[in-house]
């Protein structure tokens, strides 16, 4: 037994011997030999990120609208850095010695950061990069990193295209996929943001072996760990880039919006937010500087008006009002109401532009008779088929909502605004549950008061009328490119508000009359029947906004449009001709009446607001 006990001690000796062997081996590795300590300070593998080109954006005529332009980041790896003389860098990058020194010493400290690439200068152009490339051998630890910036063939549409910029730390942290790394580019707003995962493609990587001087000596493991980048996929817009450019020219020196939609498909043809700015401003490394300038501008060029600005829709709203009343059987096209230059039922409010006698619906639309629509609305809300004002108001609200007002339409760019279509709850809160009635809310009938619509919603309402009873969710992107190169159309929802389509015909007829002999004669185009409606949105104490909506041709319409020129006055004199020019440009590709064009191009409501007041 004792003999075997000794064996246990022999085992302990074996354990200790192995331990001592390890400890001495560790002493050799960690203390004695400097070889290993040195090796850890130099990278022998280097990961190179390959960023694929971003998807190209085409316009509706398959012309390249937005493409890529190569730019280069100048980066440095602190652990390797050796700069004998900064004059070359000063010369090529246009930086002062102090600035270069500051940037090189400004990186997060820590051993890990010492071996990670840091930024010296972002987005230098190809010429600078070529010059620098030739001299790089004079330095150690400075590299050029290629990536793709954007280039706008048509420098228009900055408001909906959005832009790309270096990804910020917050985006990196919140990205569930963990895709983004510092210095990657990411879509910030607009289409670039909405279609980011699609446009960006997928980064690739290459792992190379480098020697002590960081020269590439081959790929690691025969490239088994390398990944090829996947190119970003292209998209096609419904926007007509030339029409967009034309629209932006027309809106020069004005504030406002133009939205043009192809009624049958819901494709947006033009989407102008004035004042405009050149999207190319946001492509270079001065992006931050320009952004700040534009942000400070009192005219708010960064405010995407067609999407986010809310206006009282004015008499444009009366068309929807007529449709709602006819659908619920409140009026027929033959219904007459009295007009005495004001609405007789409510102490002469609202006023009218003249005494229209006893107009029927078509005449009322042509003359934009406030009294007629106030009475229509009154009849609606007090109709004896509803049990109380709540029921009648909610029915009316449902109708108007189904025409695309008061809620987001679901356009494919971020930051859409819902406009405002007050609910009965809203009035309950303000006035108390039983204390409001038709006279309280009568101004809704003529598109004043609480009712607000965005230019996009107005254009969409026109598309609804042009289509005689449906609209397709308005959208920019129509098709996306598959990996095999074919185009795949994107399907959008078609919305059919309830109601008889014959009601639309009477509205369309009246709109045709508005342009041929009513308030919108300035929207006429030779040999094309245009249907339109003027509007005037109040903006006290300033001058009214000039509003016009239209579509053309009357049969089988190709374009529906809404235009708002802020503080320009009467709808017929400014917004109407702008709409007609846009439609003519789109349908005929050229403008016949050059005097009309010149008058609009010359009009200036920003520097000399007075000039806008002169009647044609």
């Amino acid at each position: 037994m004792n003999d075997l006990r000794i064996r246990g001690q022999v085992l302990v000796v074996v354990f200790i011997a192995a331990g001592l062997l390890f400890i001495s081996r560790l002493f050799f590795l960690q203390v004695w030999s400097e070889d290993y300590a040195l090796k850890s300070n130099q990278l022998d593998m280097q990961k190179i990120v390959i960023r694929p080109p971003r998807g190209i954006i085409f316009d509706r005529n398959e012309k390249i609208y937005v493409q890529n332009s190569p730019v280069f980041d100048v980066i440095f790896i602190p652990a390797q850095l050796y700069i004998p003389d900064t004059t070359i860098l000063e010369d090529i990058l246009g930086l002062s010695k102090e600035e270069i020194r500051k940037r090189i010493s400004k990186y997060p400290k820590g051993d890990l950061e010492r071996v990670r690439p840091q930024e010296l200068e972002r987005q230098v152009n190809a010429r600078q990069a070529t010059r620098l490339q030739e001299r790089l051998w004079e330095f150690k630890g400075i590299y050029l990193e290629a990536k793709n910036s954007r280039e706008y063939i048509y420098p228009v549409g900055a408001n909906f295209l959005g832009y790309i910029n270096q990804v910020n730390p917050v985006d990196i942290e919140t990205d569930a996929e963990g895709y983004y790394q510092p210095r990657d580019l990411i879509g910030i707003t607009g289409i670039e943001r909405e279609y980011e995962p699609f446009l960006r493609g997928k980064k690739g990587k290459r792992i190379i072996l480098v020697d002590a001087f960081h020269r590439e000596v081959g790929s690691y493991a025969d490239g088994k760990l390398d990944e090829l980048p996947i190119e970003g996929r292209d998209i096609k817009l419904g926007v007509d880039a030339e029409l967009q450019a034309f629209g932006e020219a027309l809106m020069r020196n004005k504030k406002g919006s133009i939205v043009a939609i192809e009624p049958a498909t819901g494709e947006i043809l033009a989407f102008v937010s004035a004042p405009v700015y050149d999207p190319n401003l946001f492509t270079g490394r001065e992006l931050g500087k320009y952004y700040k300038l534009l942000e400070k501008d009192t005219l708010k060029p960064l405010f995407n008006r067609p999407l986010m600005a809310k206006y009282p829709p004015g008499s444009v709203f009366k068309l929807l009002q007529a449709l709602a009343a006819m659908s619920d059987g409140i009026i027929t096209p033959q219904t007459h109401f009295n007009c005495i230059g004001a609405w007789p039922r409510n102490k002469g409010k609202p006023k009218c532009h003249g005494a229209h006698g006893s107009p029927e619906l078509r005449t009322a639309i042509i003359h934009s008779c406030n009294a007629y629509f106030a009475e229509t609305y009154y009849s609606f809300l007090t109709h004896n088929k509803f049990k109380d004002i709540h029921q009648s108001y909610d029915t009316w609200w449902e109708r108007m909502s189904s025409y695309g007002s008061g809620h987001k339409l679901g356009i494919d760019i971020p930051n859409e605004t819902a406009g405002n279509l007050p609910t009965s709850n809203y009035y309950d809160k303000i006035y108390g549950k039983k204390s409001w009635h038709a006279f309280t809310v009568y101004s809704n009938s003529i598109g004043q008061g609480e009712v607000q619509m965005t230019p996009l919603q107005m254009a969409n309402a026109v598309a609804l009328i042009a289509n005689r009873g449906f609209y397709v969710t308005p959208h920019f992107v129509t098709e996306k490119r598959n990996t095999d190169g074919s185009w795949e159309p994107i399907r959008y929802e078609k919305i059919n508000p309830k109601g008889d389509t014959s009601h639309y015909n009477i509205v369309v007829e009246a709109m045709a009359d508005v342009v041929s002999f009513g308030t919108g004669t300035m929207a006429q185009i030779d040999s094309i029947i245009v249907c339109g409606k003027t509007g005037t949105a109040e903006d006290p104490p300033r001058k009214d906004h000039s509003v016009f909506i239209a579509f053309a041709p009357k049969d089988n319409p190709k374009i529906a449009i809404a235009c708002i020129v802020e503080n320009a006055g009467w709808g017929g004199s400014w917004a109407a001709p702008i709409c007609s020019l846009m439609m003519e440009k789109y349908l005929n590709r050229k403008i016949k009446n050059e005097a009309k064009l010149k008058r609009i191009l010359d009009a200036d409501f920003i520097r000399s607001p007075a000039s806008g007041g002169t009647a044609p």
Binding site: L11, F15, Y36, D111, L112, D222
Partner: protein, 437 residues
């Protein structure tokens, strides 16, 4: 009523220190994200967060084990062995593959590696069988059963393509030595391992296999003569068994396994040249196989005397060392805590090993002693292979560092192994006490 008074708190304290230090190292590898910010300690999407849960569960179970009746452990030995073997069989058929081995399987939301638990099961079964009153090391039938008990899980591990775990089932031979196995057979084991390695390394010498067979059997016959042919029983079986393993190692092992051995000895140029001849391309065979080894040695070597400090394992975390939270966790210790830290850790393991043999020796039941030495042997082989591999003294074999590496099954099974021993030891006084009264 019996009282449990004799829990060996020294063992428990050393164990807790190892587990806590291990968790700190896992935290160091997984706590820093790309942006350099610290993540929550209990984030369950991280390794350290999960390990925290594993440790908590393990400690609960271990506390329970301490309260068990010693007899209960003994009585359930075969049952526990049977269950773990059954789970291993299930794993062979239904397991999902991780890192090429199908040792991991999942039931519902819970997954685990049955092989880890089979190590404890095997020890218990061996201890149970060998503590029978009529058991004799000289009885061939008994010894064949002993061999069978440990060969069965080894075979199953091999079927799971998990050669690393299979090797660990050799460990109980140290315990058999303590129980009376002739020391010459440790020499057999050593020589056969040596022969296997030589036959793999010296492939360019003609007739190397024939020469080795000759030498090997020569040694065998001389050894048996020295034993005066006293018992042609289990010893012969062992001898033949080792012979077969060593002689066929060169044919049985896969190319990459042989490379792992050769990379320790043969120079880089030679290996590259060979690969080029064999595969006809500019292969970087040594870079593939030797890469992990080189990087882990560089990581440890760069630690210096005092290390780079906690959380600063730049080389390990720069994705140069693979599996840094599991099999290569020792790199983190080496890089962050240097020679002093590594030595301290090794001494802690040695202390624990010694203490386990002490517990075994001082447990009055035969079962406890056999089990204790077995547990120490298993811990020792893991310790030698894992640490030895990271510092280039042992071929790359993927097995965890007990109490240290990330992994729920590993921490639970190794803790169980230890706490069963503490439990067995804790009853010593009571048994005496019973007799005294």
């Amino acid at each position: 009523m019996r009282k449990k008074v004799n829990i060996d708190w020294i063992t428990v304290l050393v164990y807790i220190a190892l587990v806590v230090f291990g968790w700190m190292n896992i935290y160091s590898t997984s706590a820093k994200d790309e942006a350099g910010g610290l993540m929550s300690m209990f984030d369950l999407n991280t390794y350290h967060g999960k390990q925290f849960i594993f440790i908590a569960i393990t400690w609960l179970i271990c506390g329970f084990v301490l309260m068990l009746d010693t007899k209960f452990v003994e009585v359930t030995s075969y049952i526990f062995y049977g269950i773990t073997i059954a789970l291993m069989i299930v794993a062979v058929f239904f397991a999902k593959e991780t890192k090429g081995a199908s040792a991991w399987f999942q039931v519902g939301g819970f997954g685990g590696q049955p092989t880890e638990f089979a190590k404890v099961g095997t020890l218990m079964a061996l201890a149970k069988f060998m503590s029978r009153y009529n058991f004799s090391m000289k009885n061939s039938r008994d010894m064949l059963i002993v061999a069978g008990i440990s060969l069965l899980p080894m075979l199953l591990a091999l079927l799971q393509n998990d050669a690393g775990s299979a090797i660990t089932f050799f460990a109980p031979i140290l315990m058999l030595y303590r129980e009376g196995l002739h020391p010459l057979f440790l020499v057999f084991l050593f020589v056969s391992g040596f022969v296997a390695v030589i036959s793999i390394i010296l492939t360019n010498i003609p007739y190397i296999s024939a020469i080795l067979v000759f030498i090997y059997f020569g040694i065998g016959v001389i050894s048996l003569y020295l034993l005066r042919w006293r018992f042609l029983n289990f010893h012969i079986v062992l001898f033949v068994y080792f012979s077969i393993i060593s002689l066929f190692a060169n044919h049985v092992l896969k190319d990459y396994q042989k490379l792992r051995i050769r990379v320790l000895v043969v120079s880089e140029e030679t290996l590259n040249k060979e690969m080029e001849e064999k595969y006809g391309r500019k292969a970087r065979g040594n870079q593939d196989v030797g890469y992990q080894l080189r990087q882990s040695m560089v990581a440890i070597g760069s630690g210096g005397v005092w290390g780079k400090g906690y959380g600063n394992a730049t080389h390990t975390k720069g994705d140069f060392v693979p599996e840094e939270h599991t099999d290569y966790i020792f790199c983190v210790v080496g890089e962050e805590h240097g020679w002093m830290g590594s030595t301290f850790l090794l001494i802690a393991y040695l202390f624990l090993l010694w203490r386990m043999t002490w517990l075994a020796e001082n447990s009055k039941s035969r079962y406890g002693r056999i089990y204790g030495y077995g547990a120490a042997s298993i811990l020792f082989i893991h310790f030698v292979i894992n640490v030895g591999m990271t510092i280039g003294m042992v071929p790359t074999i993927g097995i965890p560092l007990p109490y240290f590496s990330y992994g729920g099954s590993a921490i639970l099974s190794f803790s169980l192994m230890l706490f069963v021993l503490v439990n067995l030891h804790s009853y010593r006084v009571n048994i005496l006490g019973d007799k005294a009264i």
